[in-house]
């Protein structure tokens, strides 16, 4: 009986405990149900969003870059389809064998093979690896024909920037290239592997406008990032069109003309509005080579070239203006009250303190008027003017004519140049200004530095009497309001003063005694007025002068003088201004003036501005 009771106790205890345990388990299940409710009802929106984030990956679609045209509508930069071969390692399976097979069709160097294999090993198996870019059409079709024996290989198309005019346009249009590390701004577009941005020229200046805005596509991806399918697609907006004021035909001519020299620049611009029609800097580079990616070897040879093909010397090259500066001194003197009647006797030198300042003509010019002084480029006459008006008045006039500061052209990297003043010298060199330095400055030597574009601007302002600013883009305000065009204002220099200077320049080319008479234009109605200049690269020592100055031709190229020439045409009613600098070309009259003549003749023959004023001149020329 005891055993029976024992058994009973055990059963009772068991039952109690079992019910208790059941309660605990029921509570645990309730907790599970509550947790499900919390996750799937209370927080479901949050997790639904996270799941979508997981699932959908946005992909940027690069917009086509805006094309660039010249003033006549010729394409200077366009987008051409490009083909590249890619291989998906996952589908190819044996990469080495596939590369062997591709190598039979398109040549692959050992280096390329290595690069492809490393790429393939580093990326996920389903990510395409580029085998070769910029395939020719023939290579594309040969790959397509052999497609069955090339698993995983496919052709992708893209757009590549193309510069049909090549070198003559290189410094103006610039080029695009892959984005470098320090150019990343956080804009995801820049992180697309095939994306290119403008690196120089207007490609760089108007990069943002040319870029356009990206489209996007939403693709479903799995956990390892493989694309499953595209969900939606929105194309981007293509970049803005850009039209330049450059006349491509004239530019081509200018570049060809400059190529007779080792290193030379020329600027042609409209004197009324400042439209730059040609901006030649020789030698140049092939912008397409940059777009495709330069080899280190190509890069080294370009950047080490003493002729500096990568530098746009029209805006970045600075040269002492030499005698082309004399017009500035003439205007400053007139403003100070020294009129055309002011005469100076030139014995071949001027003495100042215990220094002797020479004229280029050893035995002197004799007695000269201002017009004659410009015509014959007499140094002593301008020493005299400068001594009378002082450096600061000259510098002020130089600034008004556009020298000594950036012209504001829509190109990156323009240099200021330098027009020295007393204040400048004290501030930068900590020395006071010497009277002799005024004399040196008056003939455009010494500290004075100007860019060829500044010289062209100076000439255009002399010719029109307006404060024209150079511009290279016809629709700049569309692209960047900062570059909006303004109607040029009058310079505020009396017309009579300008006429006197223009008369002197007319005499330079069209009078038998003028320094550039041999480079005159003798077609009626196209005559040019100009001014020669020679910019010393080295200082002529007293000893050298005593022994007789060494002729330029006998010096090594790098030590020869720069030859300069500025001109406008036609003389009667100026339309075009031109500045030419031939680096180490010797004298301005011999090296630079003929180039300016040829360019201005070609310019007037083409008359790129004829559309603007009804093409009257062009008609006139055709009739005559």
């Amino acid at each position: 009986m005891a055993r029976k009771n024992q058994e009973n106790d055990r059963y009772k205890s068991f039952t109690r405990r079992a019910i208790l345990l059941g309660g605990v388990q029921a509570a645990a299940f309730s907790a599970l149900a509550g947790r499900l409710y919390y996750l799937q009802v209370v927080e479901s929106d949050k997790y639904a969003m996270l799941a979508e984030d997981n699932r959908i990956s946005p992909r940027l679609l690069a917009p086509p870059r805006g094309p660039i045209y010249d003033r006549t509508g010729l394409e200077l930069a366009s987008n051409e389809p490009t083909y590249r071969a890619v291989v998906v390692p996952e589908q190819a399976r044996d990469m080495v064998a596939i590369l062997e097979a591709i190598g039979e069709i398109i040549p692959l160097s050992e280096e390329e093979r290595k690069r492809i294999l490393i790429d393939a090993a580093r990326k996920r198996d389903f990510v395409p690896v580029t085998v070769k870019e910029n395939l020719t059409w023939e290579q594309v079709s040969r790959l397509e024909v052999n497609a069955p024996s090339l698993p995983g290989v496919s052709i992708e198309t893209g757009l590549i920037r193309s510069y049909p005019l090549g070198k003559p346009m290189a410094h103006i249009v610039g080029y695009v290239a892959a984005v470098s590390e320090d150019e990343l701004t956080g804009d995801p577009l820049l992180e697309l592997p095939s994306f290119r941005i403008g690196k120089s020229g207007v490609e760089r200046q108007f990069d943002l406008a040319l870029r356009g805005s990206p489209g996007n596509s939403q693709v479903e991806v799995n956990a390892v990032g493989r694309v499953i399918r595209e969900i939606s697609r929105q194309e981007g907006t293509p970049g803005q069109d850009l039209q330049l004021t450059i006349d491509a035909g004239l530019q081509h001519y200018v570049y060809g003309r400059l190529s007779a020299e080792r290193s030379a620049t020329a600027v042609v611009m409209d004197v009324e509005q400042g439209e730059v029609l040609a901006l030649g800097s020789y030698p140049a580079f092939d912008p397409t080579a940059f777009t495709l990616g330069l080899s280190t070897e190509q890069w080294r040879s370009l950047s080490n070239d003493p002729q500096h093909p990568l530098t746009n010397k029209t805006i970045r090259g600075t040269y002492a203006p030499g005698s082309t500066f004399k017009m500035v001194v003439a205007l400053a003197a007139q403003e100070a009250g020294l009129g055309g009647g002011h005469e100076v006797y030139c014995p071949g030198f001027m003495e100042l303190g215990n220094g002797r300042f020479h004229c280029w003509k050893r035995w002197g010019h004799g007695k000269l008027t201002m017009t004659q002084a410009i015509q014959q480029s007499c140094d002593v006459y301008f020493y005299d003017l400068a001594k009378r008006v002082g450096i600061d008045a000259i510098a002020a006039m130089a600034n008004r004519l556009g020298l000594g500061h950036q012209t504001g052209i829509e190109l990156p990297g323009e240099r200021d140049g330098l027009v020295p003043t007393k204040g400048w010298k004290l501030a930068y060199l900590g020395e006071s200004w010497q009277g002799g330095e005024t004399l040196v400055a008056s003939i455009g030597q010494g500290f004075m530095l100007t860019s060829p574009l500044q010289l062209a601007v100076m000439t255009a302002r002399l010719a029109s009497g307006k404060a024209v600013k150079p511009t290279i883009v016809r629709n700049p305000e569309v692209l960047d309001p900062a570059f909006a065009r303004q109607e040029p204002e009058p310079l505020g220099i009396p017309e009579a003063h300008l006429q006197l200077v223009r008369g002197g320049m007319d005499a330079v080319t069209n009078d038998r005694r003028g320094t550039a008479y041999r480079a005159r234009i003798d077609i009626e109605g196209m005559e040019m007025a100009g001014k020669t200049g020679t910019s010393q690269v080295r200082r002529i020592t007293m000893a050298e002068r005593a022994a007789g100055v060494v002729k330029n031709e006998d010096l090594p190229w790098r030590r020869r003088d720069h030859a300069l020439f500025v001109a406008f045409a036609p003389v009667d009613k100026p339309r075009y201004a031109c500045a030419v600098v031939v680096e180490h070309g010797g004298g301005g009259s011999k090296a630079a003036a003929p180039i300016a003549r040829d360019i201005l003749m070609e310019t007037q023959r083409r008359d790129p501005l004829k559309d603007r004023d009804g093409g009257q001149l062009a008609e006139f020329l055709r009739e005559s």
Partner: protein
């Protein structure tokens, strides 16, 4: 009108037909539901393919079902006498894992028998229940309330726990401890003893922490703060919660779970299959599945309370506790309530040993019910009452 003498006999002999009639077909219906759901989820996990998981899952169920029926029909007294043998056989296998075990995911858990890969730690969950049931059958309440009589069953628990910890498999070791604890509880061990052990256990945590492997420490830390390591160890649980939460009330639809089908969800065919179900069928689907499990566990309780022998009662409670821990640990883990430990979801997760172990234990449960009226003397079936 003839008298039914069988009913008066203390230990009636049942024919095979009578036994089959006694089997709880409702419980079997619930099992069939589970396997059907499991097969459907495995079909979905393979992106709409019966290969490689769904077909084999159903085939294994067929084999396991036969094993279950056989276990159910064998006399409970036969099982009583086989308990220790089963226990020590599985214990031997656990020792064998130490020497011949296959290394997988940083732990030695499997024995490769060529045909099947056996995971003895899953079998141990059942074997431990059997051994403890037999031991406590022979102990009176007074003995259980004492101290010395609790030492042998404690050893029965700690031996396999030690071996499993060495694999290392913290999740299974804790499950074995929990099952043992539940059985100690139902047989009437004094509550203050539990309190003492739990207090001791808590005090030992700082010491035990140092014995944990780096990855186990990391799991616990990650559990405490999953955002700390969103791409590493916390990735699984974060993605599981995203999948569950984004399923909402009614789910994304069969085979429409983006988290599972785009592979954001790891181990979706095994430990995280509940997540996939709740993503595709929502809270409704998740609760439905929990209800089925609850139904099976309730069957276990009912069978335990109905048994007229203590061995059967304790055995049934142990089996249902085992099932409870499987379901609770797995689902609480994928919901981010407890740290990630490798425990499958019975009948749903893909995996052979667990399927056989669970079906075998349900076979024992059925056997307890079929032989519910058989009395077994405390000294064993051979002894006279």
């Amino acid at each position: 009108m003839s008298l039914n003498f069988d009913a008066l006999r203390p230990n009636p002999r049942l024919s095979l037909g009578q036994k089959l009639w006694q089997i709880n077909w409702g419980l079997i219906f619930l099992l069939l539901c589970l396997v059907g759901i499991g097969a459907a989820m495995l079909y979905s996990a393979a992106n709409g393919s019966f290969e490689p998981w769904a077909t084999r899952h159903v085939m294994r169920f067929g084999i396991a079902f036969a094993i279950m029926l056989a276990v159910a029909l064998i006399d409970i007294r036969r099982w009583y006498s086989l308990c220790y043998l089963a226990y020590f056989a599985v214990l031997a296998m656990l020792v064998g894992v130490e020497f011949f075990g296959q290394v997988g995911m940083g732990a030695q858990r499997w024995i490769d028998l060529k045909v099947i890969q056996l995971q003895p730690s899953e079998l141990m969950k059942v074997a431990l229940v059997m051994a403890l049931a037999r031991y406590f059958h022979g102990r009176s309440l007074e003995e259980v309330r004492g101290f010395t009589r609790l030492l042998p069953p404690l050893a029965l628990i700690l031996l396999p726990v030690g071996l499993v910890l060495k694999q290392p498999d913290l999740g299974t070791a804790l499950t074995l401890l929990a099952i043992g604890g539940v059985m100690f509880f139902v047989v009437g061990v004094r509550l203050w003893k539990f309190a003492l052990v739990i207090a001791g256990g808590l005090a030992a945590i700082p010491i035990g922490w140092q014995f944990l492997h780096d990855y186990q420490q990391k799991r616990v830390l990650t559990f405490l703060n999953p955002e700390n390591d969103p791409l590493g160890a916390g990735y699984h649980i974060t993605q599981s919660k995203i999948a569950l939460g984004s399923g909402g009330v009614f789910g994304k639809g069969f085979m429409q779970g983006s988290q599972s089908h785009l592979n954001f969800l790891p181990e979706k065919q095994t430990d995280f299959i509940f997540t996939m179900l709740a993503e595709e069928f929502g809270m409704v689907g998740g609760l439905f599945l929990l209800l089925i499990y609850a139904g099976i566990i309730v069957y276990g309780f009912a069978i335990a309370l109905r048994s007229r022998n203590h061995f059967g009662r304790v055995l049934a409670m142990g089996v249902s506790a085992n099932l409870f821990f499987y379901v609770f640990i797995n689902t609480a883990m994928v919901m981010g309530l407890i740290p990630v430990v490798g425990v499958p979801l019975p009948m749903i997760s893909y995996g052979g040993t667990a399927m056989v172990a669970v079906m075998g234990s349900i076979g024992l449960l059925l056997s307890v019910y079929v032989h519910r009226d058989i009395r077994i003397p405390r000294q064993g079936p051979g002894a006279s009452d």
